[in-house]
Protein backbone atom coordinates (compact mmCIF):
# COMPACT_ATOMS: atom_id res chain seq x y z
CA UNK A 1 0.00 0.00 0.00
CA UNK A 2 1.43 3.39 -0.90
CA UNK A 3 2.68 5.43 2.04
CA UNK A 4 2.60 9.20 1.93
CA UNK A 5 4.46 11.43 4.32
CA UNK A 6 1.86 14.16 4.20
CA UNK A 7 -1.89 14.03 4.18
CA UNK A 8 -3.18 11.85 1.41
CA UNK A 9 -6.44 12.50 -0.39
CA UNK A 10 -7.96 9.13 -0.99
CA UNK A 11 -9.84 8.03 -4.05
CA UNK A 12 -13.41 9.24 -3.58
CA UNK A 13 -16.09 6.64 -2.97
CA UNK A 14 -19.25 6.73 -4.99
CA UNK A 15 -20.96 10.01 -4.05
CA UNK A 16 -19.38 9.71 -0.61
CA UNK A 17 -20.95 6.30 0.02
CA UNK A 18 -19.15 3.00 0.55
CA UNK A 19 -18.64 0.45 -2.23
CA UNK A 20 -18.03 -2.86 -0.50
CA UNK A 21 -16.65 -6.08 -2.02
CA UNK A 22 -18.55 -9.02 -0.54
CA UNK A 23 -16.61 -12.26 -0.29
CA UNK A 24 -18.23 -15.60 0.46
CA UNK A 25 -16.15 -18.49 1.70
CA UNK A 26 -15.65 -21.37 4.01
CA UNK A 27 -13.07 -24.05 4.74
CA UNK A 28 -10.35 -21.48 3.96
CA UNK A 29 -11.51 -21.03 0.37
CA UNK A 30 -13.35 -18.26 -1.37
CA UNK A 31 -16.26 -19.32 -3.50
CA UNK A 32 -18.53 -17.78 -6.02
CA UNK A 33 -22.05 -18.94 -6.40
CA UNK A 34 -25.30 -18.01 -7.96
CA UNK A 35 -28.37 -17.40 -5.82
CA UNK A 36 -26.43 -18.86 -2.90
CA UNK A 37 -25.80 -22.20 -4.59
CA UNK A 38 -23.62 -23.85 -7.23
CA UNK A 39 -20.42 -22.89 -5.54
CA UNK A 40 -17.17 -22.68 -7.47
CA UNK A 41 -13.77 -22.13 -5.94
CA UNK A 42 -12.38 -18.72 -6.83
CA UNK A 43 -9.36 -18.37 -4.66
CA UNK A 44 -7.52 -17.94 -1.46
CA UNK A 45 -9.21 -15.44 0.88
CA UNK A 46 -5.87 -14.02 1.99
CA UNK A 47 -4.70 -13.19 -1.51
CA UNK A 48 -7.97 -11.60 -2.46
CA UNK A 49 -8.18 -9.63 0.79
CA UNK A 50 -4.64 -8.40 0.15
CA UNK A 51 -5.54 -7.32 -3.38
CA UNK A 52 -8.53 -5.35 -2.11
CA UNK A 53 -6.44 -3.78 0.62
CA UNK A 54 -3.91 -2.64 -1.99
CA UNK A 55 -6.77 -1.16 -3.98
CA UNK A 56 -7.72 0.68 -0.74
CA UNK A 57 -11.38 -0.29 -0.92
CA UNK A 58 -13.87 1.33 1.44
CA UNK A 59 -14.68 -1.82 3.44
CA UNK A 60 -14.62 -5.59 2.96
CA UNK A 61 -17.36 -8.02 3.96
CA UNK A 62 -16.40 -11.65 4.46
CA UNK A 63 -19.14 -14.19 5.05
CA UNK A 64 -18.30 -17.75 6.06
CA UNK A 65 -21.21 -19.70 4.67
CA UNK A 66 -19.93 -22.99 6.10
CA UNK A 67 -19.94 -21.58 9.61
CA UNK A 68 -23.35 -20.05 9.01
CA UNK A 69 -25.03 -23.14 7.62
CA UNK A 70 -23.30 -26.00 9.35
CA UNK A 71 -23.52 -24.90 12.96
CA UNK A 72 -19.76 -24.77 13.33
CA UNK A 73 -17.68 -22.07 14.97
CA UNK A 74 -16.11 -19.24 13.01
CA UNK A 75 -12.55 -19.87 11.88
CA UNK A 76 -10.85 -17.31 14.12
CA UNK A 77 -7.37 -18.15 12.87
CA UNK A 78 -8.48 -17.35 9.33
CA UNK A 79 -10.10 -14.13 10.50
CA UNK A 80 -6.83 -12.97 12.02
CA UNK A 81 -4.94 -13.76 8.84
CA UNK A 82 -7.48 -11.87 6.73
CA UNK A 83 -7.62 -8.87 9.07
CA UNK A 84 -3.81 -8.62 9.02
CA UNK A 85 -4.10 -7.83 5.30
CA UNK A 86 -6.65 -5.08 5.73
CA UNK A 87 -6.13 -1.43 6.56
CA UNK A 88 -9.75 -0.80 5.74
CA UNK A 89 -12.69 -1.94 7.87
CA UNK A 90 -13.47 -5.65 7.78
CA UNK A 91 -16.95 -6.97 8.48
CA UNK A 92 -17.44 -10.62 9.29
CA UNK A 93 -20.57 -12.77 9.26
CA UNK A 94 -21.14 -16.47 9.72
CA UNK A 95 -21.83 -18.49 12.83
CA UNK A 96 -21.81 -15.70 15.39
CA UNK A 97 -24.15 -17.15 18.02
CA UNK A 98 -23.00 -15.70 21.33
CA UNK A 99 -21.43 -12.60 22.83
CA UNK A 100 -18.28 -14.67 23.29
CA UNK A 101 -18.16 -15.48 19.56
CA UNK A 102 -18.48 -11.76 18.81
CA UNK A 103 -15.74 -10.83 21.26
CA UNK A 104 -13.38 -13.40 19.78
CA UNK A 105 -14.01 -12.01 16.29
CA UNK A 106 -13.35 -8.41 17.44
CA UNK A 107 -10.18 -9.62 19.15
CA UNK A 108 -8.94 -10.96 15.82
CA UNK A 109 -9.20 -7.52 14.18
CA UNK A 110 -12.75 -7.58 12.82
CA UNK A 111 -14.33 -4.13 12.83
CA UNK A 112 -18.00 -5.10 12.54
CA UNK A 113 -20.00 -8.29 13.04
CA UNK A 114 -22.82 -9.34 10.74
CA UNK A 115 -25.53 -11.34 12.53
CA UNK A 116 -28.34 -13.14 10.71
CA UNK A 117 -29.06 -16.73 11.71
CA UNK A 118 -29.04 -15.89 15.41
CA UNK A 119 -32.18 -13.82 14.89
CA UNK A 120 -34.18 -17.02 14.49
CA UNK A 121 -33.98 -18.02 18.14
CA UNK A 122 -31.88 -15.42 19.89
CA UNK A 123 -32.49 -11.89 18.58
CA UNK A 124 -31.38 -10.41 21.89
CA UNK A 125 -27.83 -11.35 20.89
CA UNK A 126 -27.87 -8.23 18.72
CA UNK A 127 -28.72 -6.14 21.77
CA UNK A 128 -25.99 -7.78 23.85
CA UNK A 129 -23.34 -7.09 21.21
CA UNK A 130 -24.57 -3.50 20.72
CA UNK A 131 -24.49 -2.79 24.46
CA UNK A 132 -21.03 -4.23 24.96
CA UNK A 133 -19.32 -3.07 21.75
CA UNK A 134 -21.51 -0.27 20.43
CA UNK A 135 -24.28 -0.34 17.84
CA UNK A 136 -21.87 0.62 15.08
CA UNK A 137 -20.07 -2.69 15.69
CA UNK A 138 -23.06 -4.90 14.87
CA UNK A 139 -24.97 -5.12 11.61
CA UNK A 140 -27.93 -7.40 10.91
CA UNK A 141 -27.92 -9.32 7.63
CA UNK A 142 -31.30 -9.94 6.02
CA UNK A 143 -31.37 -12.12 2.91
CA UNK A 144 -34.63 -11.85 1.01
CA UNK A 145 -36.41 -12.95 -2.11
CA UNK A 146 -39.40 -11.26 -3.69
CA UNK A 147 -42.55 -13.35 -3.68
CA UNK A 148 -43.01 -14.67 -7.24
CA UNK A 149 -46.67 -13.67 -7.22
CA UNK A 150 -46.97 -10.56 -5.05
CA UNK A 151 -43.42 -9.24 -5.19
CA UNK A 152 -43.39 -8.73 -1.40
CA UNK A 153 -40.08 -9.70 0.24
CA UNK A 154 -39.73 -12.95 2.16
CA UNK A 155 -36.97 -13.30 4.78
CA UNK A 156 -36.68 -17.07 5.25
CA UNK A 157 -33.28 -17.04 6.93
CA UNK A 158 -34.61 -15.22 9.98
CA UNK A 159 -37.98 -16.94 10.32
CA UNK A 160 -39.78 -17.04 12.72
CA UNK A 161 -38.40 -13.67 13.83
CA UNK A 162 -39.90 -12.55 10.55
CA UNK A 163 -43.16 -13.97 9.35
CA UNK A 164 -45.51 -12.90 6.58
CA UNK A 165 -47.80 -11.03 8.92
CA UNK A 166 -44.96 -8.89 10.25
CA UNK A 167 -44.08 -7.19 7.01
CA UNK A 168 -40.86 -5.59 5.87
CA UNK A 169 -41.06 -2.23 7.62
CA UNK A 170 -41.96 -3.79 10.95
CA UNK A 171 -39.04 -6.18 10.58
CA UNK A 172 -36.68 -3.26 9.99
CA UNK A 173 -38.18 -1.32 12.90
CA UNK A 174 -37.75 -4.34 15.19
CA UNK A 175 -34.13 -4.78 14.14
CA UNK A 176 -33.46 -1.09 14.82
CA UNK A 177 -35.01 -1.51 18.29
CA UNK A 178 -32.72 -4.44 18.98
CA UNK A 179 -29.83 -1.99 18.70
CA UNK A 180 -28.37 -2.95 15.34
CA UNK A 181 -26.18 -0.24 13.86
CA UNK A 182 -26.76 -1.19 10.24
CA UNK A 183 -28.97 -3.43 8.09
CA UNK A 184 -27.35 -5.43 5.26
CA UNK A 185 -29.90 -6.58 2.68
CA UNK A 186 -29.12 -9.21 0.04
CA UNK A 187 -31.47 -10.21 -2.76
CA UNK A 188 -31.01 -13.98 -2.89
CA UNK A 189 -32.44 -14.17 -6.41
CA UNK A 190 -29.80 -11.80 -7.75
CA UNK A 191 -26.76 -12.86 -5.72
CA UNK A 192 -23.99 -13.92 -8.07
CA UNK A 193 -26.10 -13.32 -11.19
CA UNK A 194 -24.84 -9.87 -12.21
CA UNK A 195 -28.34 -9.15 -13.45
CA UNK A 196 -28.83 -5.74 -11.90
CA UNK A 197 -30.08 -4.72 -8.44
CA UNK A 198 -33.53 -5.22 -6.99
CA UNK A 199 -35.92 -2.29 -6.69
CA UNK A 200 -38.11 -3.93 -4.08
CA UNK A 201 -36.68 -1.86 -1.24
CA UNK A 202 -36.75 1.46 -3.10
CA UNK A 203 -37.13 4.35 -0.66
CA UNK A 204 -37.41 2.20 2.49
CA UNK A 205 -33.99 3.07 3.94
CA UNK A 206 -35.07 6.73 4.15
CA UNK A 207 -37.63 5.82 6.82
CA UNK A 208 -35.09 4.55 9.31
CA UNK A 209 -32.36 6.19 11.31
CA UNK A 210 -29.67 3.57 10.80
CA UNK A 211 -27.64 3.05 7.61
CA UNK A 212 -28.68 0.37 5.06
CA UNK A 213 -26.48 -1.61 2.67
CA UNK A 214 -27.74 -3.43 -0.45
CA UNK A 215 -26.09 -6.36 -2.21
CA UNK A 216 -27.17 -8.65 -5.08
CA UNK A 217 -26.71 -8.36 -8.81
CA UNK A 218 -24.77 -5.10 -8.98
CA UNK A 219 -22.80 -5.02 -12.24
CA UNK A 220 -21.22 -1.59 -12.51
CA UNK A 221 -21.18 2.01 -11.31
CA UNK A 222 -24.56 2.72 -12.88
CA UNK A 223 -26.14 -0.12 -10.91
CA UNK A 224 -24.38 1.07 -7.76
CA UNK A 225 -25.68 4.60 -8.29
CA UNK A 226 -29.16 3.19 -8.75
CA UNK A 227 -28.85 1.48 -5.38
CA UNK A 228 -27.81 4.77 -3.78
CA UNK A 229 -30.74 6.52 -5.46
CA UNK A 230 -33.04 4.03 -3.69
CA UNK A 231 -31.82 5.43 -0.38
CA UNK A 232 -29.10 2.95 0.55
CA UNK A 233 -25.99 4.21 2.31
CA UNK A 234 -23.62 1.67 0.80
CA UNK A 235 -23.46 -0.93 -1.98
CA UNK A 236 -22.19 -4.48 -1.68
CA UNK A 237 -20.68 -6.02 -4.80
CA UNK A 238 -19.79 -9.69 -5.09
CA UNK A 239 -19.58 -11.43 -8.41
CA UNK A 240 -18.81 -8.29 -10.37
CA UNK A 241 -15.60 -7.74 -8.43
CA UNK A 242 -14.34 -11.30 -8.29
CA UNK A 243 -15.13 -13.29 -11.39
CA UNK A 244 -13.82 -15.71 -13.95
CA UNK A 245 -12.07 -14.06 -16.84
CA UNK A 246 -11.84 -15.28 -20.44
CA UNK A 247 -9.04 -17.77 -19.75
CA UNK A 248 -10.92 -19.02 -16.66
CA UNK A 249 -8.47 -17.22 -14.40
CA UNK A 250 -9.97 -15.25 -11.53
CA UNK A 251 -10.02 -11.48 -11.95
CA UNK A 252 -10.34 -9.14 -9.03
CA UNK A 253 -11.49 -5.63 -9.75
CA UNK A 254 -13.05 -2.55 -8.16
CA UNK A 255 -14.59 0.69 -9.36
CA UNK A 256 -11.83 3.17 -10.13
CA UNK A 257 -11.69 6.96 -10.13
Amino acid sequence: MPLFSGIFFGVPMLRGKRVIPVLLGGNRKLVKGEKFSQWQYVGDPLNIARIFSHKEVDELVYIDIVAAQNQVNPDYVMLRKISEQCFMPLTYGGGIRSLEDAKKAFDEGIEKILVQGALRKNPSLVTQIAERFGSSSVAVGLDFYPDPVTGFPHFPTVAPYWNKTKGTEQLFADVVSLGAGEIFLTDMTREGTRSGPSKVMDGLPHRFQIPFVYSGGVRDRADAENVLDQGFDAVGVGASFVFFGPQRGVITSYFTG
Binding site: L3, G6, E84, H206, Q209
Partner: protein
Amino acid sequence: MSEFNLDVGVLDYGCGNLESISDMIRYLGAEPRVVTEVAELANLDRLILPGVGNFGVASRFFESRKGYRERLADLLSKQNFRLLGICLGMQLLAESSEESPGRGLSLLDARSTLMRSDDPNKAKVPHIGWKEVDVASPSTLFPTDSDKAGPFYFSHSYILENSEPSETTAFCHHGGHYVSAIQKGNIFGVQFHPEKSNSQGAAVLRNFLWGSDVTR
Protein backbone atom coordinates in the same frame (compact mmCIF):
# COMPACT_ATOMS: atom_id res chain seq x y z
CA MET B 1 14.15 6.85 23.84
CA SER B 2 15.76 7.45 20.52
CA GLU B 3 13.72 8.83 17.69
CA PHE B 4 13.92 5.49 15.96
CA ASN B 5 13.07 3.28 18.91
CA LEU B 6 9.80 4.59 20.21
CA ASP B 7 8.27 2.58 23.02
CA VAL B 8 4.66 2.47 21.85
CA GLY B 9 1.98 1.05 24.13
CA VAL B 10 -1.52 -0.01 23.09
CA LEU B 11 -3.83 -0.18 26.07
CA ASP B 12 -5.90 -3.30 26.54
CA TYR B 13 -8.84 -2.11 28.58
CA GLY B 14 -11.38 -4.56 27.22
CA CYS B 15 -12.32 -2.16 24.45
CA GLY B 16 -11.09 -4.10 21.55
CA ASN B 17 -9.41 -4.02 18.44
CA LEU B 18 -5.83 -4.13 19.57
CA GLU B 19 -4.83 -6.13 16.52
CA SER B 20 -5.80 -3.57 13.90
CA ILE B 21 -3.95 -0.67 15.51
CA SER B 22 -0.95 -2.90 16.28
CA ASP B 23 -0.82 -4.03 12.63
CA MET B 24 -0.66 -0.46 11.38
CA ILE B 25 1.95 0.56 13.95
CA ARG B 26 4.11 -2.36 12.82
CA TYR B 27 3.53 -1.41 9.20
CA LEU B 28 4.79 2.08 10.01
CA GLY B 29 7.95 0.66 11.55
CA ALA B 30 7.44 0.64 15.32
CA GLU B 31 6.94 -2.38 17.54
CA PRO B 32 3.92 -1.88 19.78
CA ARG B 33 3.42 -3.60 23.09
CA VAL B 34 0.08 -4.31 24.66
CA VAL B 35 -0.14 -2.87 28.15
CA THR B 36 -2.78 -3.40 30.79
CA GLU B 37 -1.67 -2.80 34.37
CA VAL B 38 -0.35 0.46 35.77
CA ALA B 39 3.18 -0.90 36.17
CA GLU B 40 3.39 -1.67 32.45
CA LEU B 41 2.93 1.98 31.52
CA ALA B 42 6.34 2.98 32.82
CA ASN B 43 8.78 4.44 30.27
CA LEU B 44 6.33 4.56 27.40
CA ASP B 45 6.91 7.23 24.75
CA ARG B 46 3.50 6.81 23.17
CA LEU B 47 0.26 5.38 24.52
CA ILE B 48 -2.76 4.61 22.36
CA LEU B 49 -6.26 3.97 23.63
CA PRO B 50 -8.01 1.98 20.90
CA GLY B 51 -11.73 2.32 20.87
CA VAL B 52 -14.36 -0.24 20.18
CA GLY B 53 -16.60 -0.83 23.10
CA ASN B 54 -18.56 0.83 25.78
CA PHE B 55 -17.73 3.86 27.92
CA GLY B 56 -19.01 2.15 31.07
CA VAL B 57 -16.81 -0.90 30.59
CA ALA B 58 -13.82 1.35 29.96
CA SER B 59 -14.59 3.51 32.97
CA ARG B 60 -14.82 0.49 35.26
CA PHE B 61 -11.43 -0.68 34.01
CA PHE B 62 -9.80 2.50 35.28
CA GLU B 63 -11.82 2.65 38.51
CA SER B 64 -10.74 -0.86 39.44
CA ARG B 65 -7.04 -0.13 39.13
CA LYS B 66 -5.47 2.15 41.66
CA GLY B 67 -3.09 4.76 40.48
CA TYR B 68 -4.04 4.83 36.80
CA ARG B 69 -4.91 8.49 36.60
CA GLU B 70 -1.77 9.41 38.53
CA ARG B 71 0.44 7.31 36.26
CA LEU B 72 -1.10 8.90 33.17
CA ALA B 73 -0.53 12.35 34.65
CA ASP B 74 3.13 11.40 35.25
CA LEU B 75 3.55 10.24 31.66
CA LEU B 76 1.86 13.36 30.30
CA SER B 77 4.22 15.57 32.28
CA LYS B 78 7.12 14.22 30.20
CA GLN B 79 7.70 16.51 27.27
CA ASN B 80 8.36 13.73 24.76
CA PHE B 81 5.35 11.60 25.68
CA ARG B 82 2.16 11.59 23.61
CA LEU B 83 -1.25 10.05 24.24
CA LEU B 84 -3.76 9.20 21.49
CA GLY B 85 -7.40 8.24 22.04
CA ILE B 86 -9.19 6.68 19.06
CA CYS B 87 -12.99 6.84 18.80
CA LEU B 88 -14.20 5.57 22.21
CA GLY B 89 -10.63 6.22 23.35
CA MET B 90 -11.03 9.92 22.49
CA GLN B 91 -14.36 10.10 24.32
CA LEU B 92 -12.75 8.48 27.32
CA LEU B 93 -10.46 11.53 27.63
CA ALA B 94 -13.58 13.46 28.69
CA GLU B 95 -15.34 13.70 32.05
CA SER B 96 -18.36 11.54 31.31
CA SER B 97 -20.57 10.09 28.61
CA GLU B 98 -24.27 9.82 27.96
CA GLU B 99 -23.59 6.23 26.93
CA SER B 100 -23.22 4.92 30.46
CA PRO B 101 -22.49 6.03 33.99
CA GLY B 102 -18.91 6.30 35.10
CA ARG B 103 -16.06 8.75 35.02
CA GLY B 104 -13.83 9.30 32.04
CA LEU B 105 -10.17 10.18 32.43
CA SER B 106 -11.08 13.88 32.82
CA LEU B 107 -8.13 15.00 30.70
CA LEU B 108 -10.45 17.24 28.69
CA ASP B 109 -13.18 19.52 29.96
CA ALA B 110 -15.67 17.69 27.80
CA ARG B 111 -18.40 15.13 27.72
CA SER B 112 -19.53 12.56 25.23
CA THR B 113 -23.10 12.76 23.95
CA LEU B 114 -25.27 10.76 21.59
CA MET B 115 -25.37 12.10 18.05
CA ARG B 116 -28.88 13.28 17.39
CA SER B 117 -30.16 13.37 13.85
CA ASP B 118 -33.49 15.03 13.34
CA ASP B 119 -33.50 14.10 9.68
CA PRO B 120 -32.67 10.48 8.87
CA ASN B 121 -32.42 11.41 5.22
CA LYS B 122 -29.51 13.66 5.94
CA ALA B 123 -27.45 11.93 8.56
CA LYS B 124 -27.81 8.37 9.74
CA VAL B 125 -26.96 7.34 13.28
CA PRO B 126 -24.62 5.53 13.84
CA HIS B 127 -22.36 7.43 11.50
CA ILE B 128 -20.70 4.64 9.52
CA GLY B 129 -18.62 5.58 6.52
CA TRP B 130 -15.89 7.77 5.11
CA LYS B 131 -15.78 11.52 5.45
CA GLU B 132 -13.31 14.27 4.75
CA VAL B 133 -12.58 16.47 7.74
CA ASP B 134 -12.13 20.23 7.90
CA VAL B 135 -8.73 21.07 9.30
CA ALA B 136 -8.91 23.99 11.76
CA SER B 137 -5.27 25.01 11.26
CA PRO B 138 -2.02 23.09 10.84
CA SER B 139 -1.43 20.73 13.77
CA THR B 140 0.73 17.76 14.64
CA LEU B 141 -1.67 15.17 13.21
CA PHE B 142 -2.60 17.36 10.22
CA PRO B 143 0.49 19.40 9.30
CA THR B 144 -1.09 20.70 6.14
CA ASP B 145 -1.93 24.05 4.62
CA SER B 146 -5.01 22.53 3.10
CA ASP B 147 -8.30 23.10 4.89
CA LYS B 148 -9.31 19.46 4.34
CA ALA B 149 -7.87 16.04 5.10
CA GLY B 150 -8.97 12.47 4.60
CA PRO B 151 -11.37 10.94 3.92
CA PHE B 152 -11.23 8.85 7.08
CA TYR B 153 -13.41 5.99 8.30
CA PHE B 154 -15.92 6.80 11.04
CA SER B 155 -18.05 4.33 12.97
CA HIS B 156 -19.77 5.84 16.01
CA SER B 157 -22.97 6.98 17.63
CA TYR B 158 -21.42 9.27 20.24
CA ILE B 159 -19.61 12.55 19.75
CA LEU B 160 -17.37 14.72 21.89
CA GLU B 161 -18.66 18.02 23.21
CA ASN B 162 -15.55 19.91 24.19
CA SER B 163 -15.58 23.16 26.17
CA GLU B 164 -12.38 24.48 24.68
CA PRO B 165 -12.82 25.16 20.93
CA SER B 166 -9.15 25.90 20.38
CA GLU B 167 -8.39 22.25 21.19
CA THR B 168 -10.35 21.07 18.15
CA THR B 169 -7.95 20.42 15.28
CA ALA B 170 -10.43 18.92 12.82
CA PHE B 171 -14.22 18.92 12.33
CA CYS B 172 -16.57 16.88 10.29
CA HIS B 173 -20.11 17.50 9.20
CA HIS B 174 -22.65 14.74 9.64
CA GLY B 175 -26.03 16.15 10.48
CA GLY B 176 -24.18 18.65 12.63
CA HIS B 177 -20.69 20.03 13.06
CA TYR B 178 -18.72 17.60 15.19
CA VAL B 179 -15.26 17.32 16.65
CA SER B 180 -13.17 14.92 14.60
CA ALA B 181 -9.84 15.49 16.27
CA ILE B 182 -8.45 17.26 19.31
CA GLN B 183 -5.04 18.26 20.56
CA LYS B 184 -4.32 19.56 24.04
CA GLY B 185 -0.59 19.76 24.55
CA ASN B 186 0.57 16.17 24.14
CA ILE B 187 -2.93 14.70 24.40
CA PHE B 188 -4.46 13.74 21.05
CA GLY B 189 -7.81 12.32 20.08
CA VAL B 190 -9.43 11.29 16.81
CA GLN B 191 -13.05 10.32 16.35
CA PHE B 192 -12.25 8.32 13.19
CA HIS B 193 -10.24 5.10 12.98
CA PRO B 194 -6.83 5.81 11.45
CA GLU B 195 -6.04 2.08 11.59
CA LYS B 196 -8.98 1.49 9.25
CA SER B 197 -8.48 4.48 6.98
CA ASN B 198 -5.98 3.14 4.46
CA SER B 199 -3.12 5.48 3.48
CA GLN B 200 -4.79 8.55 4.89
CA GLY B 201 -5.09 6.92 8.30
CA ALA B 202 -1.52 5.68 8.15
CA ALA B 203 -0.35 9.25 7.51
CA VAL B 204 -2.16 10.51 10.62
CA LEU B 205 -0.83 7.70 12.77
CA ARG B 206 2.66 8.31 11.42
CA ASN B 207 2.35 11.98 12.40
CA PHE B 208 1.26 10.96 15.90
CA LEU B 209 4.24 8.64 16.28
CA TRP B 210 6.99 10.73 14.69
CA GLY B 211 5.59 14.02 13.40
CA SER B 212 7.12 17.26 14.61
CA ASP B 213 5.22 19.14 17.25
CA VAL B 214 2.92 21.72 15.75
CA THR B 215 1.65 23.23 18.94
CA ARG B 216 -1.56 25.18 19.21
